[in-house]
Symmetry: C2
Subunit: 155 residues, 2 copies
DNA sequence: TTATGGTTTGATAAACAGTCTCATTATCTA
DNA sequence: TAGATAATGAGACTGTTTATCAAACCATAA
């Protein structure tokens, strides 16, 4: 499941406990749907579209009969609370991933769509410098490098 | 950071001539609609949604009676040919700008939506290094810093 | 200049992602 | 366990983008 670069920084049990605490704190309810969504995101190595997540959950928990609206609602809630983060793909929608991993940026192959994650300290530091220079109070950023991955270059 | 970074690097006449050459090269036709779209993009200081561009053109050239489909078709064509570039805003669509300016990244205020452009040599250089490290053939990148702009911080 | 053939167009239908509504169901707390 | 209230699924709805197609337009060659 985990190749070294995508190693989880926290265990699922811890994540789930934190999630429950958050819900309690906000007077929200811990539902079966919310649990399965979190779990599916956790055990997926991929960046998932809401639609893909919906399919995965329908396959694994058909009796749950989870609706797509709940997927969207829950993803938004998770994102607001910094549990997941999303990547925009223009008209092609968004892809979500658990944000409990270390922060990272993305390198996207325009041939096969593969997404490689990376962290670069120089870039992280420089972004703060730039925001500061403009009197901008940075609270987030996203960076994507587009190109052709190693595999696709050889095809 | 030089404030000259938003200055046009080429004249409209040159841009138009290049555009005509491109069309000819690809056996595409130079139409009134395509000309006005390019012109409107050139003289706009803003990042425009297809809808906003459509409105601008209807206001300035009502007799052209340009359809929204043509705006979309032309923007796609211009983007494929690296004449414009777009910024994605998830479900809120895309915003386009002429890409004939110097390359730059974007700082986006999540309060008022204002977009500030910047270029940073350290980041530009670092991106190439990162792509190289992964055996990735980079052909493009985009970086956005999200936060609250100076103005909105004081409101 | 005009005829010709292929391209582009506007209108509109359709596809699509994402949001909203609301009656029903589930969860939490006492 | 009951009652209050939040969450859900279904599906209607929105707004953006794409596809379709007959009519209009443009470039070329005579």
């Amino acid at each position: 499941m985990d190749s070294s670069s995508t190693e989880r920084t926290i265990e699922y049990d811890k994540l789930l406990a934190d999630f429950k605490a958050l819900l309690k704190d906000k007077a929200l309810k811990f539902t079966n749907q919310r649990e399965k969504i979190l779990e599916t995101l956790y055990y997926s190595q991929e960046h998932l579209t809401p639609e893909a997540l919906h399919l995965l959950i329908k396959e694994k928990y058909p009796e749950l009969n989870a609706g797509i609206a709940t997927i969207y609602r829950t993803l938004s809630m998770l994102e607001e609370n910094d549990i997941v983060s999303s990547l925009s793909f223009g008209a092609q929608g968004k892809k979500y991933e658990l944000g409990a991993k270390d922060h990272h940026d993305h390198m996207i192959c325009t041939e096969c769509g593969e997404i490689t994650e990376f962290v670069d300290d120089v870039i992280e530091a420089q972004q703060h410098k730039i925001a500061e220079k403009f009197g901008f109070k940075m609270h987030d950023h996203s960076m994507q490098i587009y190109g052709i991955c190693k595999k696709c270059q050889n095809n």
